[in-house]
């Protein structure tokens, strides 16, 4: 997140509220994540991939997959197109990309364009499965898989991280302006309807 004196407001900042005790679904916002789209110049995907591997250690997947090195991840969101994320935020992300592949790719900052949620918990998968029309079975949507799809009239980019203590971990990015509507749809898909905040827990409908 920028150290600007203009206060930043993340997409979900006033939406996720503490919820009552419970197991089920755990949702946290990833406000600090830096995001950018990376699109290879015409016919330059191969050169770009080599450069990224050489300079930044990430191997941009050719398909809907995710590769990570240190804090930087690249996710395939289309042919020759990736969504890049950086755990330390926008500035390191853009400087890394512009410095190293600015000549081979169109890089566009999307750190403010998307709002990102992390979703886990023993019933997170079931809750999410209600909303998206793709197969989230562990055998079908494995660790490192990425999907651009639709969730209740809203386009999302969804990816799965290494499993955590509360089970499978998904992260999803929605366009910032949809945050409130998307949150309604997502929380409606956790029966119990309670919204939740970092480390708060929601009881889901499945049990």
């Amino acid at each position: 997140m920028s150290e600007s004196t203009l206060v930043a407001r993340s997409g979900f900042h006033d939406l996720l509220r503490p919820a009552g005790e419970g197991r089920g679904v755990i949702v946290t916002e990833r406000a600090e994540l830096g995001l950018a789209t990376v699109i290879a110049r015409k016919g330059g995907a191969v050169a770009l991939a080599a450069r990224l591997k050489e300079r930044l250690g990430v191997d941009p997947p050719a398909g809907p997959r995710r590769d990570t090195s240190n804090a930087l991840s690249l996710m395939g969101t289309g042919p020759g197109t990736w969504l890049a994320t950086h755990e330390q935020g926008t500035t390191p992300l853009l400087s890394a990309l512009r410095k190293n592949v600015g000549d081979l790719a169109a890089v566009s900052d999307q750190s403010d364009g998307y709002a990102v949620l992390r979703l886990t918990g023993p019933e997170g998968r079931e809750a999410l499965a209600k909303l998206v029309f793709i197969d989230l079975h562990p055998g079908a949507f494995g660790v490192g898989h990425v999907a651009c799809t639709v969730a209740g009239h809203t386009g999302i980019t969804l990816w799965r991280l290494e499993d955590g203590p509360d089970g499978a971990i998904f992260e999803l990015a929605v366009y910032r302006s949809f945050a409130a509507s998307f949150w309604h749809a997502l929380s409606a898909s956790f029966a119990g309807q309670s919204t939740c905040d970092k480390n708060a827990r929601v009881r889901s409908s499945f049990g």
């Binding site: 997140m1 920028s2 150290e3 600007s4 004196t5 203009l6 206060v7 930043a8 407001r9 993340s10 006033d14 789209t37 699109i39 290879a40 110049r41 015409k42 926008t90 790719a105 169109a106 566009s108 900052d109 999307q110 750190s111 403010d112 364009g113 998307y114 499965a129 209600k130 998206v132 029309f133 793709i134 197969d135 079975h137 079908a140 209740g152 009239h153 809203t154 366009y175 910032r176 302006s177 949809f178 945050a179 409130a180 509507s181 998307f182 309604h184 749809a185 409606a188 898909s189 029966a191 119990g192 309807q193 409908s205």
Partner: protein, 994 residues
């Protein structure tokens, strides 16, 4: 009246009595009962009234195919019309009301229709009610509509919630009878991902209704065991109370989409907190096993609709599953061995069977013996030709010698054989085929990936069904890459299944019904034949046979059979009515899911939304966005007063407006300039870096598609802006051009609409404000930053963009900041603007100012205007090709008579103008032939002090100064107007360049 009583056994929990009310009267039943079985156990025989004749009707079936026993379930906002008593699970406090009767179910005045039945034959209304014509809407139709319909809608917003959910599996098994359970188990043991759906609340299908044994234990016990084992697999989902209602198209992988409805809470008084009432599932299955069973069919004979006449299989269901006998003196009218089993079941419950009437001359000696042993009278080669009493008290039997015998009974069980439930095999175009051996339609061409097992394909024997189920489940699992599993061999019998096609008792004395709910009789079918409505579809549409809430499940085939006999054709020659989704009715709310009320569509909010709300802004929908429309101040009486104030402030000082909703597309690459030259009518390759240009975009058919400004940030980097409503459409259009039309170009496109919060700061003092706001972050002086300049700069450590563009016609800038900081930026702008008298303005003020300037917007960019229509012809470059150039040359698009953009003023300046008024020459008659165009947009101009407008006027450019009329008969107005140039204010554009 209490002739129905409880027997021993059954699948009801006598330790859990449940109280309910029917037509206000208290009754009780047990957990495991349906409303039908509970009322039957309390002696209720009369459940409903038929649609047309209001004939008294009782239970015909024990399942979802029930045509007669429909009730209004629940009350108030939860009232649910036409609910089948045979499928309603009891819950504490259940309230049901009979419907389509007045004043009461027992005494229904509308039953007078029965007396009129000689007139009310099929299609009678097509032959009358035509004179005098005006009486149709005034008299005839209101009368018909008063009689129409069955139950009543709640007329209140549904208080319950619904949701739509998704599931994927290897094998979807439809139906949890013997075949379905076997299929699911075989697939599950192979490790396949299985979903098993059944509409009932207890898996087992007919196993729960018959006295079959599997491996020596009762079928229902076996079903429970298999159900338990299935639940133990992690990748198996057993869905009770779930009807697969539709089969849809597949993909190349073979995975097919199915629609299913889960009744999550319908068996409870109200849904538990957070639970929906129902959930619609979209299931994607690689393979499907249809094991939907079969439906027993009635026989068409005189008086076959009286309460107490019931399907034989239903009698067995009530006796065996619900432990209640429908009567004490039961007769059986059958055409198949299967029907005789009813007698055996009853006998073992010591309910005497008075008589068995079988239309066949010879039957399996074994069952004949068994019946004789119980002292049951048997009539072979005989028919029931009439019934008497309501509920039925007596039947008239005609034996093979024509002798008539009257038998006193209280229940007549009927079995005309079975129709396999083939509906789901036909949803994607397959047609069922006729089987002479079974005298029934069986599945024909199947949807890819679907197999059918058990009774659904005519394998009526239990052992057969189990074998077929196992094989189908195994095969489906293997087809989805799973290993063969060790399968059990279950011991069960294949009971006798002889059947003879027999549909209709000729020479019945009483009315013989084919479609019970719609009161379609054998005579109606004969009339349809006589009048030439002989194809299955004509028969259905003319008589409404098969169009009732049961969709002909118990009536269609019999109707076709009677038509076939009359017209000397075979049943398949008459045709099959194809089945369409849904298999059984689905609530509207369930399909809508959570997208209701304010959540019908997503709402998009800009970063300054919270701030605008604090200012008391009124918001308006713009595509999916909400935008501030105006900012009312205390004492302002309407939107116009507020908007006028906002305009005056902008034109005299400075205002700020959130323009973030406009589309923003990042366009990069070595060929970005060439690309823009091809998608815009005007040149962008010549645009210097650091400059902005207004661009016009056409569709390939030559009409205007969208407009906006595009800035060149560097040689190979542009950022394009689109209209708010056009953003998505333009992005798709540009991607098409990039990927399909000119793949050789080096261009990269991405939407950055959401990355930037963009604010228009407009007015003579905007520069001062920006100097104060931005300090030395950027020099905004006229020299360094002239009209149509743009720059990227850093402010508060943020990458920001500044554009000197103006929609208002004032000296104006648009500043773009990263959206996370959009809220703070707006607050900073307003704070810095205080001393310059800054005023936030909304879309109304924006609209007024753009009309004053003659800028086109949505009402002019309506998809039927050309560049030249809008006075933008000069933007059609002659130096290059671009999308839309060629077809814009067509005569129709270059016709001098086309309506083109003009400005209008009311001659009487005090008059208000209205958009949508049409242009007429003075003195011209109000006729379409005299139409000269119309008013597209109007505004009250604070600067001019009167209403002004824009319009599209035929040959308008040559008519400046002319006086014509804005003709508005719809609002009773006809205003003399003056045609003027579209630009009303500062035509030289001094202000925006100042």
């Amino acid at each position: 009246m209490n002739d129905g009583i409880r027997l021993a056994g059954g699948l009801i929990d006598r330790k859990r009595p449940i109280a309910l009310r029917f037509d206000g009267k208290p009754f009780s039943g047990f957990a495991g009962d349906t409303l039908a079985s509970a009322l039957l156990a309390s002696g209720v025989r009369l459940f409903g009234r038929s649609f047309k004749y209001h004939r008294p009707r009782g239970l015909l079936t024990a399942g979802s195919e029930e045509p007669n026993a429909l009730v209004e379930l629940r009350t108030g906002a939860r009232r649910e019309a036409n609910t089948r008593a045979t499928t309603i699970e009891l819950f504490e406090g259940l309230e049901a009301t009979s419907q389509n009767r007045w004043p009461t179910l027992a005494f229904d005045l509308m039953a007078v229709n029965s007396l009129l039945s000689p007139f009310l034959v099929a299609g009678f209304y097509y032959k009358t009610f035509m004179w005098p014509r005006a009486w149709w809407e005034r008299l005839y139709e209101p009368a018909i509509r008063r009689a129409a319909g069955l139950g009543r809608a709640s007329m209140e917003e549904d208080p319950d919630t619904y949701e739509v959910a998704h599931a994927f599996c290897d094998v979807l098994v439809i139906g949890a009878g013997p075949a379905g359970l076997a299929a699911a188990l075989a697939a599950a043991r192979s490790g396949a991902r299985v979903i098993l759906c059944d509409e009932d609340f207890v898996p087992g299908g007919r196993l729960n209704a018959e006295r079959h044994e599997i491996d020596g234990s009762p079928g229902s016990a076996w079903a429970a065991e298999v159900g338990a084992e299935l639940r133990s697999f992690p990748d198996v989902r057993v869905m009770r109370r779930t009807t697969v209602f539709g089969v849809y198209d597949a993909g190349m992988s073979g995975a097919r989409t199915f629609g299913a409805l889960e009744r999550v809470s319908d068996h409870l008084a109200v849904p538990p907190p957070g639970q929906p009432r129902q959930r619609m599932w979209k299931i994607v299955a690689r393979r499907a096993v249809l094991a939907a069973g079969a439906i027993e069919r009635p026989i068409v004979f005189g008086g076959n609709d009286r309460p107490g006449v019931m399907m034989a299989s239903a009698v067995r269901t009530y006796v065996n599953r619900f432990a209640v006998t429908p009567g004490r003196r039961i007769a059986l009218f059958t055409t198949c061995d299967d029907g005789w089993r009813t007698a055996l079941d009853l006998a073992s419950d010591s309910v005497p069977v008075e008589a068995i009437i079988d239309a066949r001359v010879t039957v399996d000696p074994a069952i004949l013996e068994a019946a004789k042993r119980q002292g049951t009278r048997t009539f072979l080669g005989s028919q029931v030709i009439d019934t008497h009493g309501s509920p039925v008290e007596r039947i008239t039997v005609r034996d093979r010698d024509g002798q008539l015998t009257r038998i006193s009974i209280d229940t007549l069980a009927v079995s005309g054989g079975w129709n396999p439930t083939v509906a789901l095999t036909t949803h994607v175009g397959g047609r069922p085929k006729w089987s002479d051996t079974l005298a029934a339609f069986v599945p024909g061409d199947l949807p890819g990936g679907m197999t059918v097992a058990g009774a659904a394909r005519g394998a009526f024997g239990l052992a057969e069904a189990l074998r077929e189920g196992l094989a189908a489940g195994q095969e489906a699992a293997e087809a989805t890459g799973h290993a063969k599993s060790a399968n059990p061999i279950w011991r069960a019998d294949d009971e006798a299944r002889g059947v003879t096609a027999f549909w209709h008792v000729a020479g019945s004395t009483g009315k013989a019904f084919v479609d019970f709910q719609h009161d379609v009789t054998d005579a109606d079918v004969a009339l349809a034949a006589r009048e030439g409505y002989r194809s299955a579809e004509h028969l259905k549409r003319y008589t409404t046979l098969g169009m009732a809430t049961d969709q002909g499940k118990t009536s269609s085939v019999a109707g076709h059979a009677i038509m076939a006999a009359i017209t000397g054709r075979s049943i398949p020659e008459v045709g099959t009515t194809t089945f369409r989704p849904p298999y059984s009715p689905v609530a509207v709310g369930a399909v809508a899911g959570i997208h209701r009320g304010r959540h019908f569509r997503p709402t998009r909010l800009t970063a300054s939304h919270a701030w605008a709300r604090e200012q008391g802004a009124v918001f308006v929908e713009a595509a999916q966005w909400l935008r501030a429309q105006w900012y009312p101040r205390p004492g302002e009486k309407d939107w116009l007063e507020s908007a006028v104030r906002e305009v005056k402030s902008v034109r005299s000082a400075v205002g700020v407006c959130d323009v973030s909703t406009l589309g923003k597309i990042d366009i990069q690459g070595a060929d970005a300039a060439i690309f823009l030259d091809r998608v815009y009518t005007n040149m962008f390759s010549t645009l210097p870096v650091g400059r902005v240009r207004y661009g016009l975009m056409l569709r390939e058919d030559g009409f205007v598609m969208d407009d906006g400004t595009t800035a060149r940030l560097s040689d190979d980097h542009y950022v394009m802006s689109t209209t708010t409503t056009g953003a998505g459409k333009v992005m798709q259009h540009l991607e098409h051009a990039r990927q399909v039309l000119w793949p050789e170009l080096d261009v990269q496109l991405v939407s950055v609409t959401e990355q930037w919060s963009q604010y228009s700061i407009a007015g003579p003092r905007s520069r001062e404000l920006l100097e104060r706001l931005l300090g030395d972050a950027i020099d905004v002086g006229n020299a360094a930053f002239p009209y149509l300049a743009c720059a990227e700069f850093t402010w508060h450590g943020l990458p920001c963009r500044l554009f000197r563009i103006s929609f208002s016609g004032e000296l104006a800038y648009e500043i773009a900041v990263p959206a996370r900081h959009g809220d703070a930026a707006m607050r900073a702008i307003v704070a810095a603007g205080q001393e310059f008298g800054i005023t936030p303005y909304g879309t109304e003020a924006l609209g007024i100012m753009r009309v004053e300037k003659g800028h086109v917007a949505g009402n002019e960019l309506n998809g039927t205007t050309t560049a030249d229509d809008l006075g933008l012809g000069k933007m059609m470059s002659q130096k290059k090709d671009f999308i839309g150039r060629v077809l814009a040359r067509r005569p129709g698009l270059a016709d001098p008579a086309r309506a083109v953009l003009v400005g209008i003023k009311p001659v009487d300046r005090s008059v208000r103008l209205n958009a949508g008024a049409h242009f007429l020459a003075p003195g011209a008659q109000s006729r379409l032939e005299n139409d000269q165009g119309y008013v597209t947009s109007v505004a009250f101009s604070p600067m001019l002090g009167h209403w002004i407008g824009l319009g599209l006027l035929s040959g308008g450019r040559e008519r400046i100064g002319e006086r014509i009329r804005a003709h508005d008969p719809l609002r009773g107005k006809d205003t003399e107007i003056e045609v003027v140039s579209p630009c009303f204010f500062d035509p030289e554009g001094m202000r925006l360049k100042s």
